[in-house]
Amino acid sequence: MLILVAERTHRTNTGYKTAILQNEVGAKENRNKYLRYQVEQLESLSNIEPKAEQELDLYLPEPSKVVILEEIN
């Protein structure tokens, strides 16, 4: 009888711990997703181009000012 009660208690405690850990994992995954979203935002051209133009004075060159060489393997 005592063994049964002990097993039951242990099972309940483990269940609580698992549920807490699952919630934490979910929260971390969610936070990770949000961070990735923020990285994506920062990397977007709509964020970078105005900064390049205004802060660094860098502009997309005219095609006539660029010579693109074909890569030969």
């Binding site: 923020q38 095609p63 006539s64 010579v67 693109i68």
Partner: protein, 555 residues
């Protein structure tokens, strides 16, 4: 003796009791087993629904265009607040856009329960949760919800569309692919304590994987497409416009921009317009392919600048030119309506109709987008002479931008009409490809030799005709301008126009087919001054960005 009798009696009672207990146990554990287990399970176990986060939209390079994350709504339940001042402090510090003044007002104006902020992001939530535990305050209610995030704000929103707060797609691709993105609600069987806390997951039903949709769009090209279109719409004071970039080999849509940008309403797929002179390329391709004309032929384009097709019905050249005889390439490069009309009249009517159909006009492209129209192409049996002549320069026909750009891609692609598509692949949450769209040939519309001739003609338009403003330095460029009068209140308007430029670069090995349309520009009625420079700017940006080697001398 008496004792012996009593002992016997007691023994009998004990045995009987044991038998009764054993019988009861047998009854409960064997006969009533299932029923009782069900009662216990119903008390302890609960089946709870767990929302599966909506799938993502990504561009062709795996950059997120739209994703769902768990967010939170924060509310206050007044009667459970143990320390009002501390609660206000915590909320105003942890949550952006929330201050004490606002909280005091809400506290005063609202009832017992009021929302402080919805769509709270995980970073704010974590600070709030920490502060609540640290300060030991009660009365702040946090409930999870879902927020659809777009890292590029409203970029491609006309294509992607919107979802509601219940995670359902309302418009655009969000609506079209709703069943793929939302899947079924995941169900879990969990054990709950008396207080309702989940103790452990008893079993988890087979998880429905969330699917992610990779589009053929390139986020960087899309950025330039929207930026350039908006610039030219503003500059020409147009009512709106469309810009599409398509891969010239596969007909994948690489970028598409609409102005105005309405969520879930992609003008590129849903808007219909009269294509005007951009349609001449289709007429010429049909005429050359049927040997109705040869590239060396000359056409009388009327020195008066007008041609009486049927009594009292005239066709005029828009550019007011008094041409006389023009060679076939000149008819196209000078965009002569008269010359084009005459070429169309030379063709067999059914042949002309069949070619238009074969180029994909008058029928949906089936590009997987809601509410795509067919466009309008009347049956050839109902055409009068004037209908056939005006159709030659894109009047009396209504097309969608995607139909036109796909037809130009066929010209660039050796005469092969490809199936345009916007979804590259669908993957599950582990990245395994569930479905992949591959370039699909619909039909060969014209012979490759005709397509080569068309390239020569369209290059001439850009080199010395109406499309010179579309020329991209260092790259051979082919294309055609188009200006059409808008059909308003039952007649063609002389004041409202649609101007466009359709073309492809580089000509030898075409990579990009681009269509720019400006709806009703006020500053000019000529595509050469409005749509052509927009084409050049877009082509320059993407050729540069994708490091496509020049095929002409730059210096």
């Amino acid at each position: 003796m008496i004792l012996k009798g009593r002992a016997k009696f007691c023994g009998l009672i004990a045995i009987l009791t044991a038998f009764i207990i054993a019988g009861r146990l047998f009854y409960l554990q064997t006969i009533k087993h299932e029923e009782l287990t069900k009662i216990t399970d119903n008390r302890v176990f609960r089946t709870i629904s767990q929302e599966v986060l909506r799938g993502n939209f990504l561009d062709r390079n795996g950059r997120i265009l739209a994703e769902s994350i768990r967010s939170y709504s924060i509310a206050v339940s007044k009667k459970y607040v143990n320390d009002k001042e501390k609660t206000f402090d915590v909320l105003s510090i942890a949550l952006k856009d929330v201050n004490k003044k606002k909280l005091k007002k809400l506290w005063k104006d609202k009832g017992n329960f009021f929302y402080v902020k919805k769509n709270v992001m995980p970073d704010e939530y974590e600070i709030l949760k920490y502060a609540i535990n640290k300060q030991k305050i009660t009365g702040i209610e946090i409930s999870p919800m879902y927020t659809r995030l777009r890292p590029y704000d409203d970029m491609a929103i006309d294509l992607l569309g919107y979802t509601n707060s219940k995670n359902m797609g309302l418009s655009g691709l969000e609506l079209y692919y709703n069943d793929k993105l939302i899947r079924k609600t995941k169900k879990k069987r969990v054990a709950k304590s008396r207080r309702g806390n989940i103790i452990y997951d008893a079993s988890i039903e087979k998880k429905e994987p969330t699917l992610n949709i990779y589009l053929t769009l390139d986020a960087d090209m899309q950025y330039y497409a929207e930026k350039i279109l908006n610039k030219y719409v503003d500059k020409n004071q147009a009512d709106g416009g469309v810009l599409i970039v398509q891969d010239s080999k596969t007909a994948e849509v690489l970028a598409l921009a609409s102005n105005p940008r309405k969520n879930g309403q992609a003008m590129a797929f849903q808007w219909t317009y009269e294509p005007g002179s951009t349609f001449k390329a289709i007429t010429f391709a049909a005429a050359l392919d049927t040997n109705t004309i040869k590239i060396t032929d000359s056409i009388q384009c009327e020195e008066t600048g007008k041609w009486e097709v049927t009594p009292d019905v005239f066709i005029r050249d828009v550019h007011k030119a008094e041409h006389g005889y023009l060679t076939v390439p000149e008819v196209l490069s000078d965009s002569s309506n008269i010359g084009s009309g005459k070429i169309a009249l030379k063709m067999d009517t059914k042949d002309f109709y069949d070619y238009i159909k074969a180029f994909g006009f008058g029928i949906k492209t089936a590009i997987s987008f809601p509410a795509e129209p067919n466009g309008i192409l009347r049956n050839w049996r109902k055409w009068y002479k004037i209908d056939k002549a005006t159709l030659a320069f894109g009047h009396g026909i209504s097309v969608t931008p995607i139909q036109l750009v796909t037809a130009y891609t066929a010209l660039a692609n050796g005469g092969i009409l490809m199936q345009p598509y916007i979804v590259e692949k669908i993957t599950n949450h582990k990245g395994r490809v569930i479905k992949k769209n591959k370039p699909t040939k619909i039909r060969k519309v014209i012979d490759s030799s005709t397509a080569d001739l068309m390239k020569i003609l369209l290059v001439k338009v850009v080199e010395g005709g109406t499309g010179t403003e579309a020329k991209v330095q260092g790259y051979s460029t082919a294309g055609k301008t188009g200006t059409s009068e808008k059909f308003l209140q039952g007649k063609y308007s002389e004041t409202h126009h649609t101007v466009s430029f359709a073309g492809f670069v580089p000509v030898e090995k075409p990579k990009y087919t681009i269509l720019v349309i400006l709806d009703n520009p006020k500053t000019t009625t000529y595509a050469s001054q409005s749509a052509s420079p927009a084409f050049r700017e877009m082509a320059s940006a993407i050729l540069n960005m994708k490091s496509v080697p020049q095929d002409e001398k730059v210096f």
